[in-house]
């Protein structure tokens, strides 16, 4: 009896130390409510995604890519000149124009544009047109390649992140050469520091990115989340849009990212404080596990 009691005591201690081990053996209720964007966020009941703020839904359809046509006006963009981008989305089966969208992060359409040298970054919101298309007017500052990431949620489908490419005449196609830059940044009304765990991020393994912001007083959710992040590889092939894994309005905001390849990645992170959007930029070298 004494051995049995002692065993129980030690097992209880182990359970406290390693709750995840025990959790495997405890029946869980069916986690049928899924975040359409962060599909690893599940719940047994309705609610909001703690990462991106979207409503959890039952029965998210299998992801299907929606065709997106990006038209430029004028067709030949010139560096520094006004340029209109029109995004037309079609149904993947019928080809018919999509006209109904769900709001994600307070907007119907989010657009990121990144230049080939990774110096130019825009996160903006093309306006909807009566025919279901979206239009954005802006200027691309220099010749070369730009990658566009369109973020939208067609009704009846799943959230889409669609890449497109704009080529402004006069530039080359060579990838950027980036040096690491993990130093703290002073932005509009914040100081932002970045600490990664592990300190040397490894391709294919989860990296925790801890952002410490000062002053934290006055931090607000920006477009329905405590932060937005875009990660781009130096060759512009990997484009990752994500939101905090852990954040509560305090000074530390944690993002989790699996950097795909052993390359250099540029990270743009956006926080809002007292109505002002702050964008901090870091450059993270990622190595391979040896």
């Amino acid at each position: 009896m004494s051995i049995f009691r002692a065993l129980l005591t030690v097992l209880a201690g182990l359970a406290a130390l390693f709750p995840f081990v025990v959790a495997q053996t405890v029946p869980q209720p069916p986690l049928d409510y899924v975040c359409p964007m962060d599909r690893d966020v599940r719940s047994a009941g309705p609610g909001k995604c703690p990462r991106c703020g979207m409503s959890l839904v039952v029965g998210v359809p299998d992801p299907v890519e929606y065709p997106l046509d990006l038209n430029l006006s004028p067709r030949t963009p010139r560096a520094g000149d006004r340029l209109e981008l029109t995004f037309k989305i079609r149904h993947p089966k019928t080809g018919a124009p999509v006209t109904q969208y769900q709001i994600i992060h307070e907007k119907l359409f989010h657009m990121f544009v990144v230049s080939q040298d990774l110096e130019y970054f825009v996160h903006d919101h093309p306006v909807p047109l009566p025919n279901g298309s979206f239009r954005y007017a802006g200027r691309l500052p220099k010749p070369g390649m730009y990658r566009v990431l369109a973020d939208y949620y067609p009704t009846g489908g799943t959230p889409q992140l669609t890449e497109r490419t704009i080529l402004v005449p006069g530039g080359g196609l060579q990838p950027a050469k980036l040096g690491p830059d993990l130093t703290g940044k002073h932005t509009e009304n914040l100081d932002v520091e970045l600490v990664t765990e592990p300190p040397q991020p490894l391709a294919g393994f989860k990296t925790l990115l801890f952002f410490r912001v000062r002053p934290a007083e006055g931090l607000e959710q920006y477009l329905g989340a405590w932060g937005h992040m875009l990660v781009a590889s130096d060759d512009l092939i990997d484009l990752i849009h994500t939101h905090p894994f852990l954040a509560d309005g305090g000074p530390q905001i944690q993002f989790n990212v699996i950097f795909p390849r052993a390359r250099t990645y540029r990270v743009w992170v956006q926080f809002q404080r007292k109505g002002v959007v702050n964008t901090a930029v870091f450059t993270v070298p990622v190595s391979v596990l040896k």
Binding site: A6, V10, R39, D40, P63, T76, P169, Q174, F205
Partner: protein, 233 residues
């Protein structure tokens, strides 16, 4: 240390080590049955199946031992061997994984690659052979060339491109506008595939077709209309 405590600790240690080695720790709700099987069926099973050209990944028991290799291959964009970077040309039957699909697989593997409830498995795919699309006439491009007459492109096919290499193909019209035609990354010549545009692309005479970097390889423009011999170098 009393005998009871020693025995207890030994038994506990054995139990714990057995448990740890028998199972990876599961930290994700993403499962093979619900999410990963759907990706494998649609993107991998054409080759990775019984009777296919590579080992089968159709069942959890078959896929689980390969989980870490699957993660590495998709993150490096070596698999599926589609080869074309998304958003640089729009293609029919695009077999490349989206960034979110890549992240889904990586998170499943990082989270212990759980099976989930087999009730949620989708219907197994139909592997009926698709009829090969007859290749239209091709215009070979090495380096750069200018079209002498108008051309309507149905597709593009890599020619002599070394394994693992990368290149971009662009078309610059006489008005200066540049159309992205193809961006190959980590190319696998074994696939021998042609890329068919989701909508044909029309180019006037004088359009300059360019492979970058020069010398990275050759490609063939698959022409829907026009006279392929009338080209100007």
């Amino acid at each position: 240390m009393s005998r009871i405590v020693r025995v207890t600790l030994a038994v506990t240690l054995v139990l714990f080590l057995w448990h740890s080695s028998a199972h990876d720790v599961i930290t994700t709700p993403i499962t093979f049955s619900r999410e990963i099987s759907r990706l494998i069926y649609s993107r991998c099973a054409g080759c990775h199946r019984e009777g296919g050209s590579a080992f089968s990944l159709l069942t959890y028991q078959e896929a689980r031992p390969w989980a870490k290799a699957i993660k590495e291959e998709v993150l490096e964009r070596r698999m599926p061997p589609w080869g074309a970077v998304k958003g640089f040309g729009q293609f029919r039957d695009d077999q490349g994984l989206t960034q979110e699909q890549i992240e889904l697989i990586a998170n499943w593997v990082e989270g212990g690659a759980p099976e989930g409830d087999p009730v949620l498995l989708p219907k197994r795919p139909d592997f009926a052979e698709k009829a090969a699309v007859a290749a239209p006439p091709g215009i070979a491009v090495e380096g750069a060339m200018a079209l002498k007459s108008p051309v309507t492109l149905a597709g593009i096919r890599p020619g002599n491109v070394a394994e693992g290499s990368s290149l971009m193909v662009t078309a610059t019209r006489p008005d200066g506008s540049i159309e992205p035609l193809l961006w190959l990354y980590n190319y696998k010549p074994q696939s021998g595939r042609a890329y068919w545009y989701s909508a044909a692309l029309r180019f006037p005479a004088g359009t300059r077709i360019e492979v970058s970097p020069p010398g990275a390889g050759t490609i063939a423009l698959l022409v829907k209309q026009g006279r392929p011999n009338q080209i100007r170098r």
